[in-house]
Symmetry: D2
Subunit: 473 residues, 4 copies
């Protein structure tokens, strides 16, 4: 059984508390790592604070080299790393490999953006009070950061904290999800060889109690959290003076109009709805189809869902596999049953087998049902009809969340209305809302989040502007 030491202040360490890691498909523990306690965290913080000035003063060419070296090292080991990721998360290998390649990209983009940190020139003499003065703005790293990342993209969502932190010149302590700590611990083995100062990055699996210090300790200047809305919003209240960035969940919707390529839309909705069993913040949860094409869409969609291949995540042919754990599968089952009790109809699926939940399509749902209003985070989509585009926009907006939305249309007025009126962070025209590339601004409005990731945007959140006013005299 593989053992992964945790990475504390530039050293690999074990602790007194083992953390076994289970393969969700086999249900067997296949590796172990360790939980950090207050001592390890204190070491990491102390080293992190020391690393602040080293990182801030590091010339760009060194930051760039470190970040590109990490990117290349991940790429070289991509197949093995995809296996580790698939094993710990139950994510089908094809998607696991995709995530590894995205992490390669994320580091690459961070390297490039480290060369392009913002800065501004401004004239100051707009009134006589500013006569003889001019202004320059540079951006400086905020300082020690805390990052908390979720199980569903165990590597790349951790990298979305680590890579921009380093690009901006900030040390970071990252707490991965306890279920999936391995791929990011693999990353620390790469990071360890790059010449970063000790404490630049520490990765500490922790239980929630110990991890809470990441939220409350004032020595952290910023907290970047990806996870559930309930947990995230509570952190905001307890974060003290630090900056905070929250990437939370949603119940992303799609609109399909008659002017779209309905068959293509249906195919994209299958991927959007069921990739990694819907355990994705922006998975397609709600599909709204115009009445004129509802039947044809439904037929094609259902047929494609039916054909999805279930199997072991490690099998390259597998398209859908188990959920992260049985607790979540049971929650999904309960929500689906409740919706049926409240009048919804199951078109397909609906059954749980252990921690596997079948790809499920519901219709005749109401916006108040949990399967619509909450984040299902499972392989369940609702399929409903609309008659006017304006109504469809209203249906998407009838939610406490607002992360991304997809609109399949060839009509300019519909694109305009969607972009101007959908209360979300991103509108994807002619594709599903699950679409994300790592440099685009990403994040939600309403209950879905606070701030934006996407490397350039993350970096901006992780820096403070400082103005220089230079008097002529």
């Amino acid at each position: 059984m593989d053992q992964y030491e945790i990475y504390v202040a530039g050293k690999f360490k074990t602790t007194s508390t083992e953390l076994p890691v289970t393969n969700p498909f086999t249900g067997k523990v296949f590796a172990r790592t360790f939980l950090a306690g207050p001592d390890e965290l204190e070491d990491a913080i102390t080293a992190g604070l020391k690393a602040e000035s080293v990182l801030a003063d590091m010339p760009v060419y060194r930051r760039y080299k470190i970040l590109t070296d990490v990117s290349e090292a991940i790429r070289k080991d991509k197949d093995r790393l995809a296996g580790v990721l698939a094993m710990e998360s139950g994510k089908p290998y094809r998607y696991a490999l995709g995530e590894i390649l995205r992490a390669v990209q994320t580091f690459r983009i961070a390297a490039e953006e480290s060369k392009r940190l913002p800065g501004e020139y401004l004239s100051i003499d707009w009134t006589e009070a500013g006569d003889g003065k001019e202004g320059w703005v540079k951006y400086f790293p905020v300082g020690l950061m805390a990052g908390i990342s979720p199980f569903n993209f165990p590597l790349n969502l951790a990298v979305h904290k680590i890579a921009p932190a380093l690009a901006a010149g900030n040390p970071i302590i990252l707490k991965p999800a306890r279920a999936t700590p391995l791929s990011v611990l693999e990353l620390t083995r790469i990071l360890d060889k790059t010449g970063l100062p000790p404490g630049a990055v520490s990765v500490l699996p922790m239980d929630r109690q110990a991890g809470d210090q990441l939220v409350t300790d004032p020595r952290f200047k910023m907290l970047s959290f990806t996870g559930s809305p309930q947990v995230g919003w509570k952190m905001k209240e307890r974060a003290g003076k630090k900056k905070i960035l929250l990437e939370l969940g949603g119940n992303a919707g799609v609109i399909v109009t008659p002017s779209a390529d309905v068959s293509r839309a249906a195919g994209r909705c299958v991927t959007g709805g069921f990739a990694y069993s819907g355990q994705v913040c922006i998975h397609v949860q709600r599909i709204y189809v115009h009445e004129a094409v509802f039947d044809s869409f439904t037929r094609i969609f259902i047929e494609k869902v039916r054909k999805m291949k279930f199997g072991d995540p490690l099998d390259p042919g597998t398209e859908i596999s188990v959920m992260i754990d049985e607790e979540n599968a049971a929650r999904v089952e309960a929500w689906v049953r409740e919706s049926v009790d409240q009048g919804a109809e199951i078109i397909l699926g609906g059954k749980k087998k252990g921690n596997y939940f079948e790809p499920t399509v519901l219709t005749r749902t109401a916006s108040s049902m949990k399967v619509c209003s909450l984040e299902i985070f499972g392989p369940v989509v609702t399929l409903e009809k609309f008659s006017s585009f304006h109504d469809a926009v209203g249906m998407i907006n009838d939610s406490r969340y607002g992360l991304q939305a997809g609109v399949f249309t060839n009509h300019l007025d519909e694109m305009n209305e969607a972009f101007n009126n959908l209360k979300v962070g991103g509108v994807i025209i002619n594709d599903v809302p699950i679409f994300r590339v790592d440099h685009m601004p990403y994040g939600g409005v309403k209950d879905s989040g606070f701030g934006r990731e996407g490397i350039k945007y993350s970096i901006h959140e992780m820096m403070e502007p400082r103005l220089l006013v230079k008097n002529k005299v």
Copy 2:
């Protein structure tokens, strides 16, 4: 009879050569001004060179005040100025007033942009060679400028030279069109009261020979010309080392598709085609209508053209009046006749009465005919049918010119194709190509021009970047 002195190096002057100004509608001389000769030009240049450092060093709040004061002064006198402009140019009062108000805007925008001159910060240490260094870029005025403006927007196109020049910190010598020197001479009376240094702006009507020095004299650091393609491109070859900006002509086209509001499109095409008798660089010269709506478009369009009210430019109800002179009307007539000889058909109009040319609509034209291929600069449009959008884009592109194009469509794929493939400076979706506001980037590709106006863009062309690399040591 009103007399307008020319404005040379901060002084109002007469010269030995009178320039009578004719009202194109009545054919009568109603005012006189003077032609500058080499002596006046030399005085203007000498003062301009002296003004260079004064303007470059002028604090922003003073530039801003001067430019906003000018804007307000024009606004206060807008009705009288519109009358002067209508008289000298034959432009219907409604459009003349519109032009005055645009000049108000152009100065206002220049004032605002003078506060926002560009500047950049860049890290230099992308390789070890740059270790310890950082870079700042500021933009500095190029120096003395020459401007040449045409008859068709006698005030606002001159202002598009003068206002950004001052915002950037450059002195300028402007040569207005000989037919229409009055409205810009009115402007000099306003400029004279603003506290600008002598030579900051000189306005010199000149014959072509004297004016040629604006092109060839190396003391001018930049030439900004708006006028005909033939004249403009020859200037480029003779301009020596100076920067050059050319705003030339075109034969702007419009595409009308079935997904558009055909009636609205037809109405906009009437304005676009016949405002100021088509004497506008971006007037609608070629209309391409999808076969499915060709007949209905034609019916509505012709009906609206028929209803245009001819009259004295000074009459507020007048929608169309005479052309600038009979020579141009005769040229238009000759081109129309030639097109008919070559197989074109006149749907409406086609006749010349003195310097009036009727609003004319042709069809069955070929792209090789002068009415299609050259800039007609008169009240003539061609109306042709297409069957595929792709072909329509090709028809627009089948031209040596590329200024702006209009596309009436509600289809996203058509908008995308138009934007990505039309070889023009600007694509106007759901409006006619005559659309211009004074802050947008404006200018042509192919034979239609070189560089971009639109205040922020003009200013950028009128400045030179200077890099500061600051070594840490």
Copy 3:
């Protein structure tokens, strides 16, 4: 006695609770207004929510006109308004008039920036996953805002909430300081005539309990607060999901080196230290002078402080007057006494007469004394010696605050060190940290604040980006 109705949802109203307004110099009540209660606040919120879409959809030219009209209306009434402001705040007329003129500017800048709201283009196809896609970002208003402004700049700091909110398209409910509600109520009389929808701006004086709803009510999407650190940071914890911007206090420091013009530095420090009795967030509280010029600086400085003219704020010759109330004067006196008990020496001043506190200069202070470590917000400066520039930077940084700092130097290496190492929001070279113009980015780090004001920057904080990903298909 003048009566000012409060401005609720587009209507001027009285309430059952009078709020008398006192002239701090005479100690007499000279006007009255009213405290809003939960009902008025609820009306304002309801109308504000309704105004959201009206403001968001308002075309730029209308926003611009409203904001420039307000700017002009303030300018026209500047002398009277300066009198009102001087009366309610005890601010000497010369500074009161300066503040009025800054409010004129702030609205003007907001008008200009409303034309320049951010937006971005980005290519999406950095990997094959993005093939055929491109991205556009637009910024949308966050929605209903709450603003809380302090007594010391009763008009312009309120305007720094209201003007950018409107420029961004957000309605706002503003709570002014209870001591100084009049000048911003004067502003509402101007705003009322501009054609803004009811609820776009409401101004409600409230007691702290009622005002607390501005912090906690989730219908506010953002809270912008200027005031004391203690109050501000507690708000952050109780603000729920809303965005928050905090402009808090500081203990701004100045460094004077031998390469500077010492006499000029001394003169600027007098203004920076004692304008409005030091009741300014960025007033000069700590002066560090190089030992080589300490004596000469001190001599000139003390001489100039001695000459400051005390008097009635309404007297144009007055340079220093009373503090806002006796409570604050007493607090300042206590801190000064405590510092003396702990070893500090009074060079000048130190005495309280009613709510007047003499301009006071202390030396031999320690960084732990309240007069150094806390925000004095009174007419007290400390004057200390340093021997190395590096030490001086450390002295400035030895503080929980970090708003702005001033550095008088002609040495490039000192400027670089100051800019790169001073932990503040702004470094003013060759001037005092009290320097602020209304378009520059302004705000603190450490305990001094969260986020940046300065119109363009405020607007950015008040908007949310939304990404459009457009697939080619």
Copy 4:
């Protein structure tokens, strides 16, 4: 003897005219390539025009991969390529290797910038005329480009044409200097394997007559030339409608003030003055030293120049070697002699041996002497004294050229004066003007050039903006 085929429209070819390549140090022909004639050029143009749309439509990830692959391929072969470059140019190996590594960087930067092509959002509705409209700007490649590069950086200055052309989406035909065609032909062997369409890049050594078609043929949409001022400015007049970018020469100056580290300044001036025998556009030609440190500077400087090691360029220890040919050495000798005849004094060097010219230091020169006023492009520097900084700035500006300047100072007011008043493209504080990194904006004012290189800036010059105005309707 190595044979290098030329690269025409995706094919390696020989022609009927051999071009022998000489090693300037040994004087022996060591390789041969071929001169292209009108037929090869026509093939290249035809294929280039075909490649326009392929390149324009190529997704970013493919452009990026091609450019990074080229960068990596150069890096892998860097030692051998440095040898080829040293052999053809006589450039000492250490500098030759440096140039190869810069070419690696230049392609890398171009790859990164290809992801970040510019684009803009702008509101259009600043007046009622724009109601309901908004604007987006994208940049499109200009089309087929011509590039002409000089002998002194035979690879990297060619790469400064090729890499940004490809990043922008433009095909390019490059004419290298006839003396040094090999390193860029080596590059074509790398380019050929990248999957670029035929005609994307052609490299054609040509005699001046054949090469002239690059200037005059209207099928080229842009010409980018690096070379001598006389040749460059004549091209501008004959370039027709195409865009033009000129990187020409200069007589770069340095100012050394007493506040600087004089010893370091002297050392940097040795490198700046004599690297590659001064055959660099921005080599240090004129040194102005403050009288207070003139003697000490001179002593250190002369001592260091004396120690420069002459030898075979291929010897890694060589610091200075022969010039490109005897013709140039003879020209330098003549200018030096003429200066001595006119009163200059030789402190060091001054002699020619074949095509070697000794490192030469002159003093008592006058600005009218050729060694000062023209571009010496040889190992000659002038060393003069000044007493006021203001005068020194004037001395630098007393030149028809303005490329870069260096200023060694620790005084802020001197930095400000230098930056605001030196009429050059770049001011390097505390380093020599020879400083260039490949991403910084680079180019001259006055007779030194037209436009800016530096990848982002080159790309911008190689693209045309196109505005989309989208009407709401």
